[in-house]
Each structure stands twice: as structure tokens, then as C-alpha cells.
């Protein structure tokens, strides 16, 4: 028999084409993942980097003039090419997407400007960007500052920026105070009043009436206080001149933050970047979610994923133990196993519909009738809530946990089990004391996979409790602290909402990327947590075999 000879001197090892093929597969996969991450990180982080303000002098008669003014200013967010129909054929026109701000004056915060229409462009050093509570950014040149105590500081003064900073510090303190009064104190009274109203017997008694009057009195005091603080916030204003010439006075109470992007040094820009990042993580959203932060969404996603993990772990592990250790292996267990695997492939929206029908309407409705009948017809648990969302996702991810737990259990060597049984351990003792600890790292892998799938899921949540803007967090300082019935915000839904439901898509676009970045970061963080636990377990048992 003649086998083809490997020629002497041929340095190519046999099977090299296989190496190439497989490594290509890996390279393409890695490239796609890295490209995805790079795009999201770059787009997400650039949102917080201060961009310069451009002042443009336009050709008279240009289509880009704003309020008949040829001088306009704004922040260039990107460029695009546009096909312009000509008498003969077409021409490509390059345009800037300009964030002109001042939505209250111009009616829109963004517009396209043909680059060819610009006669002169410059970056004025005194250009100022003011982030406001409403109407987005104000962009212009500062004129003067009227402080709450009546003093006035001109923009040219050396003390202008420090005075404005000081004034804003006062505003922030007032705003904090207002939140304390309106959200916390008045919220607590409202809670107590609702409780009282749900108890008609008590309300009819003299005690109840006295309590109600007392609550009302306390409410009146707080409401007066809130009114006073709001009055304080009205005092003082910042006057700016827009590039188009108008002058506006912005009440200090409206200002969140200000900066002069064109004269910032690099360390200042880094500081601004970090400050913006921090605000994004820690603040509540404003203006239909297009401004402010995403804290409630981060928190909601985190709590929901945690609840889901708590729910999915015991079910998945117990089911897998029975299936692997106790059930008689036969056609029935085989078909159960196949069904479980197929369950993992069911579209998630199906779980959402099931969650709505079973958890929300049936289970929640029954709970309401049994325990919260007083507040009916307003549902307590009979409407979407974080607990139903967590349970729906737990149901969706339970196959992942079952499959990986079964694999981890199967990987525990037979000798280890026999060693335990030979010492007089019962089957359950063997499972509990030897098999489960040895399988724990593999089980944690299942949890990692389940969390990754659960945290990124949006479609079923829309049916069972996620909302665009939740008035309160699922965990707070009001008894019973963990409010499983509350609706919540979720990063995945937040992205959808910003991308498709936002009234101002230009303002929402950067927020989409930034929110995506944080969704990825949160999933990575949760997974890292689980991986750290798994490595601990592995090190504890000093085996890499599982």
C-alpha cells in the first residue's frame, strides 16, 4: 500500500489547513466581539467628554439660518453627507449636525447646517454651555449674574465663575432640601394617609379622625416649607446672550451645571468627564429620560437580576439533583431532559405572556383578593411588578441552570460518591456533603449564564412590570423596605425607550449608547461577582477538574 509521503524538507506540518480554518473561526468571532465592545465603549464614553462650541457666520440667504440670523453657534455632534437634487443630476452636500441648544427659544435643540454655507467659523473662548433642569442645554455667551442676595457680577469679572459656582452650590443644597421635603417627608405622610384610608373603621373613630387631622396639619407645614424652598430657587438668575443675538435670563434654580468648553484645559476636561460619568450613574433621569442619569434603571436591573438569581437557583438545582441522582434513568427522564432543553429555546416573549397570565393576573390577582382587598380595585400585586418580572425571567432561565447543574453533577467522579457511601453515608448525605460542594463551581457557571441571559432580556419584562419612569425604587426606607410589588426601570428597556419612544431623538441618541455601555458593564460586573465566587470555591477544593 502506498501512502502519500510527507516530503522531507516540507516544513508545513500535516493538518495545518485545519489549524488555519479553526483559527479563522476564532479570529472572526473575536473581531466581532471586540468591534462591538469598541463601538459601544467609544460611543458611550464620548457622550461625557466636553465638546467645543462652534460659532458660525453663514452666507446670507443660507437655508441654515436660524431665526433670520446669520450668526449661529452650537456643538458639532457629527457630520453627514446629503444628496441634493440639482437641475442636472445630484450633488453631495456635507452637513454638520449642530446641537444649537436653547430649545425654549429655537423650538428645537438640534439642526443640520451645510458646511459650504459657513463663511467663517471660530471657537469663542467665552462660549458657555449651561445644563438646565428643563429644555436641555443653553448655549451662548455669559453676560451677567444676578445673585440671590441682590448683588450682580458681570461676566468679565474675575469673580464670575467662582460666584456662579458658589450660587449653584446653594441651589444644589436647596434642591436636596426640596427633595427631602417633597419625596421623603411628604411621601411618608401620603403613605400613612393611604394606610388610614384603607381602614374605614379606624377612619370613622375619633382616634382615626384625630390622626387624619394631625397628618393633614403636618402635611400643611411641609407643603408651606416646600413652597418656601421653591421661592428661594426662583431667586437669582444668569443672563446669557445667544449666538443669534437674543438675551435670556436663566433662573439659578434651573441650572444643573455649566462649563466653558472652549477654554477648558485637558485636566479640566477629564474632571468634567468624570463628573458627567458620576452624574449619569447616580442621578435620576430628567426630561423624558433624555437628560440626567440612569440610576433607577441600573438599580432596577440589579435588584431584578438578583431576585431572579435567588429564585432560579434553588429550583434549578433541586430539579437537576432529582433528575440526575434520584430519578430512574429511562425514557421518561430522557423526555423530561429533552423538554427542559427545548424550554431554553422558547422565545422570551412567550414567557412574558405566561408571566402576565399566570403571575400577574392569576397569582397577583389572588394575592390581592386575599390580602389587599381593601385597596381594590387598585391592584397591589395584580399588576406588573419586580417580583413577577424576576419570577418570569427565573422561569425562562431555569433550563440553563438545570442543564449546567446536571453536567456538573455528572462530572463528580463515581469514586467520590462510593467513598462516601462506603463510610455509611446515606444518598442524601452523599449528595449534600460531597457531590454538591464538588459540583458547586459548575453550578455557579450555570448561574453566570442564567444571569447574563436574564439581565439582558427586555421583551418579557415589558409585559410584567417594567416602566419608562418609575416614581420610586423597589428598595427604600419605607416599611417593608423591599417593595416586591413595585414597577421598576430596567437598562434594557431604557435603551429601547430612548431609541424608539423618545420625543427628542437627537438628544436621546447619545444616551442610547451610554446606557448600553452601562448595561454591558452591569452584566459584566454581575458575572464577575459570580466568577469570583466560583474561583473561591474552586480554590477551596483545589481542583480544576470541574
Amino acid at each position: 500500500m502506498n501512502l502519500p509521503h510527507h516530503k522531507f524538507g516540507d516544513t508545513r506540518p500535516a493538518g495545518e489547513t485545519g489549524v488555519w480554518l479553526t483559527s479563522m473561526g476564532l479570529a472572526i468571532g473575536l473581531f466581532m466581539v471586540l468591534a462591538l465592545l469598541a463601538l459601544i465603549v467609544a460611543n458611550g464614553l464620548s457622550v461625557f467628554w466636553p465638546k467645543p462650541v462652534l460659532e458660525l457666520h453663514l452666507k446670507p440667504g443660507s437655508a441654515s439660518v436660524l431665526r433670520d440670523q446669520t450668526v449661529i453657534g452650537g456643538i458639532v455632534t457629527r457630520t453627514r453627507d446629503r444628496m441634493v437634487p440639482l437641475a442636472e443630476g445630484k450633488a453631495v452636500e456635507r452637513e454638520w449636525h449642530l446641537q444649537v441648544g436653547n430649545k425654549d427659544v429655537y423650538g428645537q435643540g438640534f439642526r443640520y447646517v451645510a458646511i459650504n454655507d459657513a463663511l467663517k467659523t471660530e471657537y469663542p473662548a467665552d462660549a458657555m454651555v449651561v445644563e438646565r433642569m428643563e429644555y436641555g442645554h443653553a448655549v451662548g455667551r455669559p453676560l451677567s449674574l444676578a445673585l440671590p442676595d441682590g448683588r450682580t457680577v458681570a461676566a468679565g469679572d474675575a469673580g464670575f465663575s467662582p460666584a456662579l459656582h458658589d450660587a449653584l452650590r446653594g441651589v444644589r443644597a436647596l434642591r436636596g432640601e426640596l427633595r427631602q421635603v417633597e419625596k421623603k417627608a411628604i411621601g411618608r405622610i401620603n403613605h400613612a394617609m393611604t394606610q388610614l384610608r384603607l381602614n374605614p373603621d379606624k377612619l370613622a373613630s375619633p382616634d382615626g379622625r384625630a390622626e387624619q387631622a394631625e397628618l393633614q396639619k403636618r402635611y400643611d407645614v411641609l407643603a408651606a416649607d416646600a413652597l418656601r424652598i421653591r421661592g428661594e430657587l426662583e431667586k437669582g438668575s444668569l443672563s446669557i446672550a445667544l449666538f443669534t443675538g437674543e438675551q435670556r435670563a436663566i433662573p439659578l434654580g434651573q441650572i444643573v451645571h455649566f462649563h466653558f468648553p472652549n477654554r477648558m484645559t485637558t485636566p479640566e476636561k477629564v474632571g468634567f468627564f468624570l463628573h458627567g460619568l458620576k452624574g449619569f450613574v447616580a442621578d435620576d433621569p430628567r426630561e423624558a429620560n433624555t437628560e440626567g442619569g440612569i440610576f433607577p434603571a441600573i438599580f432596577g436591573t440589579f435588584v431584578m437580576t438578583l431576585l431572579m438569581s435567588i429564585a432560579v437557583m434553588p429550583f434549578g438545582i433541586l430539579a437537576a439533583i432529582y433528575l440526575r441522582e434520584y430519578a430512574k434513568q429511562g425514557w421518561f427522564t430522557r423526555s423530561v431532559r429533552i423538554s427542559v432543553n427545548n424550554l431554553a429555546g422558547v422565545p422570551s416573549i412567550v414567557f412574558g405572556v405566561f408571566g402576565l397570565g399566570f403571575f400577574v393576573y392569576f397569582t397577583g390577582g389572588t394575592i390581592d383578593q386575599l390580602f389587599f382587598s381593601k385597596s381594590l380595585p387598585t391592584p397591589t400585586f395584580g399588576t406588573g411588578g419586580i417580583i413577577w418580572a424576576a419570577l418570569t425571567l427565573a422561569l425562562m432561565t431555569v433550563p440553563v441552570v438545570i442543564v449546567s447543574t446536571e453536567e456538573a453533577l455528572a462530572a463528580v467522579p463515581r469514586g467520590t460518591r462510593e467513598g462516601s457511601l462506603a463510610l455509611g453515608a446515606s444518598k442524601w448525605q452523599t449528595i449534600y456533603r460531597v457531590v454538591l460542594p464538588a459540583a458547586a463551581p459548575g453550578i455557579m457557571t450555570g448561574l453566570v449564564l442564567a444571569m447574563a441571559r436574564g439581565a439582558g432580556e427586555v421583551a418579557p419584562l415589558m409585559l410584567v412590570g417594567v416602566v419608562k419612569l418609575a416614581p420610586s425604587l423597589p428598595i427604600d426606607d419605607l416599611f417593608p423596605f423591599i417593595h416586591l410589588d413595585r414597577k421598576f426601570m430596567h437598562l434594557g428597556f431604557h435603551i429601547y425607550d430612548l431609541g424608539f419612544q423618545s420625543p427628542d431623538s437627537d438628544a436621546a441618541r447619545p444616551m442610547v449608547f451610554a446606557t448600553t455601555l452601562f448595561l454591558i458593564a452591569l452584566v459584566v460586573l454581575l458575572n464577575l461577582g459570580a466568577i469570583v465566587i466560583r474561583e473561591r470555591l474552586r480554590r477551596k477544593y483545589a481542583t480544576g477538574a470541574f
Binding site: 467513598g419 462516601s420 457511601l421 463510610l423 455509611g424 453515608a425 460531597v434
Partner: protein
């Protein structure tokens, strides 16, 4: 066919095997064994692979129960108590009959927890009892000096020979009457093997030891009695000295002289 064996030792008998047959499904693995195993001595089972010696060993602590479709017939008495009965409490039985496996199988726990595993599952939690047991058993297993400073580190970091001695320490911690050893040295190097053999020589003062081995020199070295199995039948059973020097059966003669198997 009943076994043609030497008159059973007229000493204190701990395991009395009367006409034991064993089936894996329809496959008969053991044929009508009779054997009487004496107390506090070492009995070795030798024979070629697949001759049923391990299967028989695992009958003694009912480890074969774990195999689907396995079935035992006949009578097996431990101190006069019938073991081949559905009413036997196998958990209690396995506390009386310990086992050391071919492949050392320490639990993924600390050395300390490995030794006291049998006590823990029996519900012993008294710290001083546990500490005392760990030291006593590790000393008996000739492992104490090597591990006394790292009792709470993982047992899986030990060497192969140390792991096997740990498994022996673990099995004696529950104070069994009988220790079954299924080729305990087959995965060990000669040095570790000799340590385990020394240990067996020590332990047989106190426990009844039944050892399965492929190594005839080892059987000759450590055992008082030897049984030769062939194709699921007990061919010969007698004092080790006699079986190796003047075997009664031609098959035994052929096997120990290396003519087959």
C-alpha cells in the same frame, strides 16, 4: 460446582459465606462461593482480571446495590447476621465494614474533614472527640507526621500515596470490624506501596482485612490467608504460606507460577 477448598480456619470467623452467587442482569459473575474469613487477620483475594474477586469484595458491604440489575443469591453472614436480606440496614453495615478503593478518592474537603467524615455523618460534632479521632487515625495510618501542620488544607493536594493512606485513616475513623481493600496499591509507586503494606501489617492486629490484589508478591507478603478466584469460582482457599508453596489445585499452581492470567 462448589469450591474445593482447604478446611476453613478453625478460628474466630467474622464473615461466613454460604453458597453466594452473583448476577449482573443475566450474567452470572460468581458461582456458589463458600468461604469463612477469620477475624483480625488479613485475607487476600487473587486471580486474573474479571474473575469476580472485586465483585465478591463489594458483596460484603453491599456496594453492588448501586448497580442497576445486580442480584445476589445465597447467604452471607457477618458475625452471624445475614447480609443478603432486604431488611439489612446498609448504612449501619457500611459503618461496620469499611472500604478502601483502587483509586484513592479523598473528598474535596480538608484533610481533617476527610478523616472525620464518617463521624460527621453519624452526627458526632464534639470538637475534642473529633480532634482526638483525627490524630489517632492519622497516626495509625502513618500519615500524622506528614500532615499534622496542614490538617485544614485540601486533601487533594496530597501525593497519591498520602491520599491512599488518608482514605485508610478515613475508613478506620468509624472503627469498623472489617476493612475491605480493593487493589489499594495498584496506582502507587513501589515506595508508597511498601508504606501501605507496612500499614496493613499494623492494622491487621486490630481489624479484619480483606484485600484484593493483582500482585502475588503482595498477597504473599501481607496476608495470612489467600483465596484464588477463577472465572467467578473460588478455586482454592488456604493459608497463604501453603497456597503459594504447595497449592492443591493445578489451576492455582499455573496461576501463581505465571503460566496464565
Amino acid at each position: 460446582m462448589t469450591s474445593t477448598l482447604e478446611a476453613p480456619p478453625a478460628e474466630d470467623i467474622v464473615i461466613d459465606v454460604r453458597d453466594i452467587s452473583f448476577f449482573y442482569g443475566a450474567n452470572k459473575a460468581l458461582h456458589h462461593l463458600h468461604m469463612r474469613i477469620p477475624r483480625r487477620q488479613c485475607t487476600a483475594f487473587i486471580g486474573p482480571s474479571g474473575c469476580g474477586k472485586s465483585t465478591f469484595l463489594r458483596c460484603i458491604n453491599r456496594m453492588n446495590d448501586l448497580i442497576d440489575g445486580a442480584r445476589m443469591e445465597g447467604s452471607l453472614l457477618l458475625d452471624g447476621m445475614e447480609l443478603n436480606s432486604p431488611h439489612v440496614d446498609v448504612i449501619a453495615l457500611r459503618r461496620r465494614v469499611g472500604m478502601v478503593f483502587q483509586k484513592s478518592n479523598p473528598f474535596p474537603k480538608s484533610i481533617y474533614e476527610n478523616v472525620i467524615y464518617g463521624l460527621r455523618i453519624a452526627g458526632v460534632n464534639n470538637r475534642s472527640v473529633l480532634d482526638e479521632t483525627v490524630e489517632r487515625c492519622l497516626r495509625k495510618a502513618a500519615l500524622w507526621e506528614e500532615v499534622k501542620d496542614r490538617l485544614h488544607s485540601s486533601a487533594l493536594q496530597l501525593s497519591g500515596g498520602q491520599m491512599q493512606r488518608l482514605c485508610i485513616a478515613r475508613s478506620i475513623a468509624v472503627n469498623p470490624e472489617v476493612i475491605l481493600m480493593d487493589e489499594p496499591c495498584s496506582a502507587l509507586d513501589p515506595r508508597a506501596t511498601s508504606r501501605v503494606e507496612d500499614l496493613i501489617a499494623e492494622l491487621r492486629q486490630e481489624f479484619t482485612i480483606v484485600i484484593v490484589t493483582h500482585n502475588m508478591q503482595q498477597a504473599a507478603r501481607v496476608s495470612d490467608w489467600t483465596a484464588f478466584f477463577y472465572e467467578g469460582k473460588l478455586i482454592e482457599f488456604g493459608a497463604t504460606q501453603q497456597l503459594f508453596t504447595k497449592p492443591a489445585s493445578q489451576q492455582t499452581q499455573d496461576y501463581i507460577t505465571g503460566r496464565f492470567g
